[in-house]
């Protein structure tokens, strides 16, 4: 076995962090690994729950990975999730008798399309108008929830139409929640695109050196445009899942702070926020790690208002494990006493 090759793999550290967390769960949370089947033939257990809950974050972090790889950032995705949720719920409607006002397929399509539209807006600001990514996406981050409020007329729309709950729940006859399949499909889609097109290469090139990319004939603005649009697409899909989970559109809380979780997932996955090389697999693992952390906290009975503190501590530890500087520090700890003492020689000289 080639240990060195394994440890130097880009996925090694993200996986190590996830396994550490899972191990903690196995030891401290009763029945963490147990998966049971309910009477109507659905699988049930904490692991399934983690995958179910992390699917929307996984999808968001896919889009975020590309954006960050171009050395940009998209902090509007949380708000776009809220817009998408508002669109899908408004179109299906909150009728108490469980009848949809518009076909669900149309509602889904519209919600995703709105997501893409938001992405295109961001792309336009960043690629065409050359506004800094943080500032450009900040516009939609703040305005987005207002737009969602407008769509829902300030109400929380609860959807009673049964099939809507299948998006984040289980379709009768299926064993796993649908959103796990959606997330898996998105990951596969991205993997396919990476394999069959040169978008990955161009994204990296732009992230590493945009000027040189331009001189090599790459249309930098097109690349930027595409990644922001894709991030919007991902946010649109996430919005469906998030609203289906609670069967409602809550303009104030849907996708709240999810942009930060998505950025964190990408960072945990080993992609540098300065752009360049990116790791899709790492981001997916990062997203699962973050959700595992949340689930762990709930399982340990930590109150939801204390959650952020615990999460922050855990994130600091996870980041430290992955930090190159920290690794180097540990590595050089022993021979740190070598070498001269600067200053002394200067005095003598």
């Amino acid at each position: 076995m080639n240990w060195k090759r394994i440890t130097s793999s880009s996925l090694f550290l993200p996986l190590l962090a996830l396994f550490a967390l899972l191990l903690f769960n196995v030891i401290f949370v009763d029945g963490f690994l147990s998966i049971q089947m309910t009477d109507d033939g659905r699988l049930y257990g904490r692991l399934i729950d983690i995958l179910n809950r992390s699917s929307s974050l996984i999808i968001l972090s896919l889009g975020m990975t590309f954006v960050i790889a171009t050395s940009g950032i998209d902090i509007s995705v949380g708000a776009v999730v809220a817009i998408s949720a508002a669109v899908v719920c408004t179109l299906i409607g909150g009728r108490g008798d469980g009848v949809a006002e518009h076909p669900m397929a149309l509602a889904i399509l519209a919600a995703v399309a709105i997501g893409v539209l938001c992405g295109i807006w961001n792309g336009f600001l960043v690629a065409r108008l050359k506004i800094q990514a943080v500032v450009a996406t900040l516009i939609l981050m703040t305005a987005g929830r207002g737009i969602a409020q407008l769509l829902t007329a300030g109400q929380i729309i609860t959807v009673y139409y049964k099939p809507f709950s299948y998006i984040s729940g289980t379709i009768p006859g299926n064993v796993l929640p649908t959103n796990i399949f959606i997330a898996a499909a998105m990951v596969l889609l991205v993997a396919f695109i990476m394999k069959k097109t040169s978008i990955g290469l161009f994204v990296q090139a732009v992230g590493i050196n945009a000027t040189a990319s331009k001189y090599a004939g790459i249309s930098v603005s097109l690349v930027l445009f595409v990644v922001y649009a894709f991030s919007g697409f991902c946010a649109g899909v996430s919005g469906l899942i998030e609203s289906s989970l609670i069967r409602a559109a809550d303009a104030n809380n849907a996708g709240l702070n999810m942009e930060m979780d998505a950025i964190l997932a990408v960072a945990l996955g080993g992609t540098l926020l300065s752009g360049g090389k990116f790791y899709i697999g790492g981001s997916v693992i990062g997203a699962i790690t973050i959700q595992t952390l949340t689930t762990t906290m709930y399982a340990l009975g930590i109150a939801s208002d204390q959650l952020p503190v615990i999460k922050a501590i855990a994130v600091v530890i996870l980041c430290l494990i992955q930090s190159k500087k920290c690794q180097a520090l540990v590595a050089s700890w022993k021979d740190n006493r070598h070498g001269g003492n600067p200053g002394k020689a200067v005095e003598k000289a």
Binding site: T197, L201, A205, I208, S213, A216, G217, S219, G340
Partner: protein, 505 residues
């Protein structure tokens, strides 16, 4: 005669990078009041040696003694505390801070805990005066030319009580006059008893300025010599490790390419507001055209207009007799124009990508995102060019940022040759690279024109290299074309005359 005092002694220095022995038992001695040149091809270990000295890299063996005391700087800051300062090729100051701030950043004079701006500015003025520079120190750095910025960097280095000043390719972006001014300052510092390490690829400058030279090759010490007792060819022979006759042979030029009658590109009165005024240019197939002139004369600007980095605001460009609106690089690339830009680091290489990725990049960009070149084909293309251009890499997946300057340049050229261009524009292709590679690239330019019928535009600050390769020289000055020299007229004297004569206009 009194023996000069030894300032710095590096003994048996070893430095190992994963898989490479970058330095192996290298000795280096610097005396006070001497200008000592470090010479060697790219990858010979010059910059590694300097980086070991300045604490950028930890060394793996050997001792460093400063004035007889052993030192071991671990960071550039520690090295500075010992009095070892470096001025790099790229000015690493902050363009948006004032000159005074740049000089005193991190050690601002304070009064009651606040920065004492008045004292700081006064001191900056006094310091620069010592180097005979009189400028407004409260203006931001980007007000001044690269040459002045370089001198400010030196002023800063000297002020941090430097006893050893390392100049790493300081002249690569300076013109002749500016270089002379820099030399005057360096000589003055030498007279004050400083030890100066001078790294340059310009042999002429080494001979004009330095007292001694230490030659490295493949991480090993070849020897230290008095510059006065070493001929140029001998020095080159030591650097590249060949005997004298082989070097003499290399020194011979490839016979120039004879242009065909077909015009590939004709630029008629092209101009761009603010950067270029009315340039006429005809480039034939199989022709090597040189764009001569000083830095900022409009050479690069002309090339960038031809490649669509900027759009022309006046005139027209015809390719193969047809008018074409070159609005972006892709338009130019579709018409088989290729452009190796001047600044390799900024607009050439994508540092964190592999050699393979860098080579296929332009080709892939031309094909578009969706027509992905399969990996096997990419590898094939990369290997072919690595062999063809003799690019020194460990393998094709090596990151391009880890290559030496000359090899990076070859990767960029490979990138463009892979697109099978009919016009290849080389902007300063030999800047900052070693003699061996330099002559390779010059020969390659001529061969491409001869064998493949390629039209080549060659831009260089080194007159010698232009007169060797070009059959036509377009002389630029103040963003205008001032002369066009053909065949026998192509010599540096005529270029100088044209530049000087353009004054009257």
């Amino acid at each position: 005669m009194q023996m000069e005092q030894v300032l710095l002694e590096m003994r048996q220095i070893d430095k190992i990078f994963p898989g490479v022995r970058a330095l192996s038992k290298v000795d280096f001695t610097l005396r006070a009041g001497e200008i000592h040149s470090l010479m060697g091809e790219n990858g010979a270990g010059k910059s590694t040696l300097v980086k070991v000295l300045t604490g950028v890299y930890p060394r793996d063996g050997g001792t460093i003694r400063l004035n007889g005391h052993e030192i071991a700087p671990r960071t550039p800051k520690e090295a500075q505390e010992y009095g070892i300062s470096t001025v790099y090729q790229e000015v690493n100051l902050c363009a948006n801070l004032s000159v005074a701030e740049n000089i005193y950043i991190g050690r601002e004079p304070k009064k009651h805990g606040f920065i004492d701006w008045k004292t700081m500015n006064e001191r900056a003025v006094a310091l620069l005066k010592r180097l005979h520079i009189t400028i407004d120190v409260t203006k931001t750095l980007d007000h001044y030319s690269v040459a002045i910025q370089q001198m400010i960097a030196i002023a800063r280095a000297v002020d941090v009580s430097a006893r050893i000043l390392i100049l790493d390719e300081p002249t690569s972006s300076l013109d002749e006059q500016e270089t002379q001014r820099l030399f005057a300052i360096v000589r003055e510092l030498k007279a004050q008893g400083m030890g100066i390490i001078f790294i340059s690829h310009f042999l002429e400058q080494v001979y004009a300025l330095c007292d001694r030279v230490t030659v490295l090759r493949n991480g090993e010490l070849i020897g230290s010599y008095e510059v006065a007792h070493l001929s140029r060819l001998e020095l080159i022979a030591k650097m590249i490790g060949k005997n004298l006759s082989a070097v003499q042979e290399m020194d011979q030029t490839e016979e120039k390419s004879q242009p065909s009658a077909d015009v590939f590109l004709a630029a008629k009165d092209i101009g761009c507001t603010g950067s270029l005024v009315d340039v006429d240019l005809a480039i034939h197939k199989s022709e090597v055209v040189g764009l001569a002139g000083l830095l900022g004369s409009g050479r690069t600007e002309t090339a960038e207009l031809l490649f669509g980095i900027h759009s022309i605001t006046k005139g027209e460009i015809d390719i193969n007799g047809k008018k074409l609106n070159i609005s972006d690089p892709m338009t130019a690339m579709r018409k088989k124009i290729a452009f190796c830009p001047e600044d390799r680091k900024v607009s050439g290489i994508i540092g964190d990508l592999s050699v393979r990725d860098n080579i296929i990049l332009a080709m892939q960009a031309k094909d578009g995102m969706l027509k992905h070149i399969p990996y096997a084909r990419q590898a094939e293309i990369a290997d072919e060019f690595i062999r063809l251009l003799q690019i020194k890499v460990s393998d094709r997946e090596q990151l391009v940022k880890n290559l030496s300057g000359g090899n990076q340049q070859k990767v960029i050229i490979a990138r463009w040759l892979a697109t099978q261009p009919e016009l290849l524009i080389l902007d300063e292709p030999t800047r900052g690279i070693d003699v061996g590679t330099k002559s390779e690239i010059q020969k390659m330019a001529v061969q491409l024109a001869k064998q493949r019928g390629m039209a080549v535009v060659f831009i260089s600050s080194e007159m010698d290299e232009m007169t060797r390769t070009c059959t036509k020289l377009v002389v630029m000055k103040d963003r205008r074309k001032v002369a066009e020299l053909m065949d026998d007229e192509v010599n540096s004297e005529n270029v100088m005359k044209a530049i000087a004569g353009g004054e009257k206009e």
